[in-house]
């Protein structure tokens, strides 16, 4: 049973990693006043591109880098549409998701054709910092990106938002762009930056799936994790550390249902109900937390000077 809990915690951290990265990315975008529904497509495309480039160059790192660059560009495209052109954020974000999903599928089919077995590459290895320590050692057997997400990305995101002039500008621009503008803040530049950073993080989350967790690319690789990340941002009240908590809850539920499936609980219920469980838990968490959610006041509103 002890092994059960240890495995559960280890899996929780692993499952939460892509969500944490993506949700922190979305936090930046929304804190600056832009709902980026391009998140799902950004993750999907990054998962593909990371795999594709890693496969082509033989370097996982170049794959990861390419994926992150694609995410930054996707974020900037969202900025072009929603910030510069002032297009409806719901529609432009979904449009980006559909475009990037289609592009990834197109390119995947073109490159790998109709092979019977999906291609695979050796993924990033698990780090094992404490190989001889019984429980903690097992829990700490994680991918480098997991360490980065929890120990670097989330705290640094917090620090950026609450302890730097950039973060102050982001928060001001998302709450009251008129005031920020009058105070001499370049609203457009801040929103571009926030969306660019956010897109890069979303892409890192997507690339984690193909380069660390799976070592392959499949059509169902992201499976709505982008939408879950958006729910986590609301759940976490646009605060990186609380968002991390939300990612852990989802990760925990997901890991739990995996273990329950693996144990082979002979219950007369289909395994899909386990799979759906994390989504339902997210939904319930959203409903419970959403009542006190204080949305950034300028979210969804394009800024115009005159």
């Amino acid at each position: 049973m002890n092994a059960f809990v240890v495995n559960l915690i280890a899996a929780m951290l692993r499952v939460a990693t892509p969500l944490l990265l993506a949700a922190v990315g979305e936090t930046f975008a929304e804190r600056a006043g832009v709902l980026n529904l391009g998140i799902e497509g950004t993750m999907f495309f990054a998962a593909f591109l990371g795999f594709f480039v890693a496969d082509a160059t033989g370097s996982l790192w170049i794959g990861l880098l390419a994926a992150i660059i694609s995410g930054v560009l996707a974020g900037l495209l969202m900025a072009l549409l929603s910030v510069t052109l002032g297009v409806n954020q719901h529609v432009s974000g979904l449009g980006i998701t559909l475009l990037l999903t289609g592009l990834a599928l197109f390119a995947f089919r073109l490159r790998y054709g109709g092979r019977s077995t999906p291609p695979a590459i050796p993924p990033f290895p698990l780090l094992d910092p404490l190989p001889n320590v019984p429980i903690l050692g097992n829990i700490l057997q994680q991918y480098l990106l997991t360490y980065v997400a929890f120990l670097v990305v989330a705290p640094v995101a917090w620090w950026l938002l609450y302890r730097t002039s950039f973060g102050l500008n982001v928060r001001a621009v998302g709450e009251n762009p008129e005031a920020a503008d009058a105070a001499g803040v370049n609203v457009f530049r801040i929103r571009y930056l926030a969306l660019g950073i956010g897109g890069g993080l979303m892409a890192a989350g997507g690339a984690f799936l193909s380069l660390s967790q799976l070592g392959a690319f499949t059509h169902g690789i992201v499976a709505g994790r982008g939408w879950v990340a958006i729910a986590l941002v609301i759940f976490g009240n646009w605060h990186p550390i609380k968002v991390m908590l939300g990612a852990l809850i989802f990760g925990g539920t997901f890991a739990l249902q995996l273990r329950l499936q693996a144990i082979g609980l002979q219950l007369p219920i289909p395994y899909e109900s386990f799979l759906a469980l994390p989504y339902i838990v997210t939904l319930v968490a959203l409903v419970l937390a959403g009542r006190n959610a204080s949305y950034p006041a300028a979210l969804l509103k394009p800024y115009r000077r005159e």
Binding site: Y162, R163, T164, S165, F166, G167, L168, N169, R171, A172, E175, N176, E178, A179, A180, D181, A182, A183, G184, V185, N186, S294, A297, R305, E306
Partner: protein, 499 residues
């Protein structure tokens, strides 16, 4: 500023305007709403670009393309709608866009801002959240923000509109002290008394054109009034005393929450008779909006009763209020009409039942209804125009038409003339008086004491959601009303409880 011209489409907001400001002076910019005062100053602050003309700062031609440029030249502006971010602290708002370096240490920033506040003699808690501050305090934050950026020119756009008389005195004292230290102030206003009291020189604008600049010491209010409006007095005022009528709208111990769920209205009891205008005076944000919304069913009361002609409407829905003969002119014009719908659709929206057969719209009836109301209320629009294309005055006429054409027995009018030009203001005031003549009970909610004194039969003062006194208008004086609006007096010596 020399020869400044600014056009908005076909409208010329500023027409070759010259304006100069000397070091250490308080220069009033006087004019009616829509005269172009704010536009001129928004150009100086980089929020608008002038189509023609040039700006010279300390002898050098200046290019001001954004507030950042203006700040760099030592120009600061406090706009009517404060440019503050409510969820941030005072200190964060002050340093926003003006931080030294990338890192922002909250404790250090707070200390810096607190020190600056002390230096400029402004009483503010730097660590407080702006959302918790009163309007007067927010204005001080705005002034501090400008001074913190080393402003040598401070533009104040109608700074007293949101203040009670006593806060105005404090503001004036602060401004005089700052000017003694070399600050120059542009004071935008349309209130003659204040201009006479605070300014060294006055520049008057009318219809976007410069009328002239005079030394305050060598002018008189009558001359300024002539410069501002082209004539000496305002037209609309209540004529004669009313004959007492039956109480139509009775509000008993009404209580209601604000948007955050906190108790806002407390124990409000008022009674308005037929053929009477009762005004609710008070500083903005003291429960006026909640009162108006509760009285038309948009907001649910938490306690008390609302009676219209004896009919209990306490928790009724908006359409039930309408059916009972309550007409309300919306406080925010733009939120009162659906901009993307047509004039005709907006006019029909409140009484859709009369324009439908079996759920299907009768489009001819909707259009002819609109045509009739457009003629009757002199709205400059066609029935098929989208409401958003109307000017503020015409939009207000549209909303008046929708409400008043039903001959309501109660008219609720929160801030009905805010932001309108002088012609439209007179039109609205005349309409309210016409409703009074017709025998309607009119509840006027206003922050403009001149308007209240000109129109009302009785005046009630609201403070922190409570009615702190009611008096016949002929017995009220500005001094006492001001004290009551500030919450200083519950019942002033000369204001008798009249309920």
């Amino acid at each position: 500023m020399r020869g400044i011209t600014k056009r908005f489409g076909p409208v010329v907001a500023n027409d070759r305007v010259d304006f100069s400001l000397r070091p250490g002076e308080i220069h009033a910019l006087l004019g009616e709403n829509g005269a172009g005062k704010t536009t001129l100053m928004r150009i100086l602050y980089g929020l608008y670009r002038a189509d023609e003309g040039q700006i010279i700062v300390e002898g050098q031609p200046a290019r001001i393309a954004s507030p950042k440029d203006a700040i760099g030249l030592g120009i600061g502006m406090v706009t009517q709608h404060f440019a503050l971010v409510p969820p941030l602290t005072v200190a964060e708002n002050v340093v926003l866009g003006y931080t030294d370096g990338f890192r922002v240490d909250p404790a250090r920033v707070r200390a810096q801002v607190q020190e600056a506040a002390a230096r400029f003699g402004l009483e503010i808690a730097a660590g407080a959240l702006v959302s918790h501050l009163s309007v007067g305090e927010r204005q001080r934050v705005e002034i501090l923000k400008a001074l913190y950026r080393n402003a040598r020119v401070l533009i104040l756009d109608e700074p007293t509109a949101v203040l009670i008389p006593q806060e105005v005195d404090t503001l004036f004292a602060t401004l005089r002290r700052l000017c003694a230290d070399g600050l120059s102030v542009v004071f935008i206003s349309h209130k003659l008394k204040e201009v006479m009291a605070i300014s060294d020189r006055v520049t008057a604008l009318r219809d976007g054109k410069l009328v002239g600049t005079v030394d305050t010491a060598q002018t008189a209010p009558a001359q300024l009034a002539r410069m501002m409006v082209g004539r000496e007095t305002f037209g609309v005022a209540r004529q004669g005393e009313r004959t007492p009528g039956e109480p139509v709208l009775q509000i008993e111990r009404l209580g209601a929450d604000d948007d955050r769920g906190l108790s806002m209205l407390k124990n409000v009891t008022l009674s308005i008779e037929a053929g009477e205008i009762l005004s609710v005076a008070g500083v903005g944000g003291n429960g006026q909006r909640e009162l108006a919304e509760t009285l038309c069913g948009v907001r649910r009361p938490r306690a008390g009763r609302i009676l219209v002609n004896g009919q209990d409407l306490t928790a009724a829905r908006p359409h039930e209020f309408t059916a009972a003969g309550v007409g309300r002119i919306p406080e925010d014009r733009h939120a009162g009409a659906v901009g993307e719908l047509t004039v005709a659709e907006n006019l029909a929206l409140e009484h859709l039942g009369e324009f439908t057969r079996g759920g299907v719209l009768n489009r001819e009836a909707i259009l002819s209804n609109a045509a009739a109301l457009i003629a009757q209320f002199q709205i400059k629009a066609r029935p098929t125009d989208r409401a958003r294309t109307l000017s503020g005055g015409n939009l207000q006429k549209l909303l008046l038409a929708r409400v008043l054409s039903r001959q309501p027995c109660v008219v609720i009018a929160p801030q009905p003339t805010r932001g309108l030009d002088i012609g439209a203001t007179e039109y609205v005031r005349n309409e309210l008086l016409a409703q009074r003549e017709r025998g309607a009970a009119v509840l006027l909610i206003s922050e403009d004491l001149d308007e209240i004194l000109a129109l009302s039969d009785r005046i009630a003062v609201i403070y922190e959601g409570e009615i702190v006194g009611v008096a016949p208008a002929r017995e009220a004086d500005v001094e006492t009303l001001g004290l009551m609006m500030a919450g200083a007096t519950r019942e002033g010596a000369r204001v008798r409880e009249a309920v």
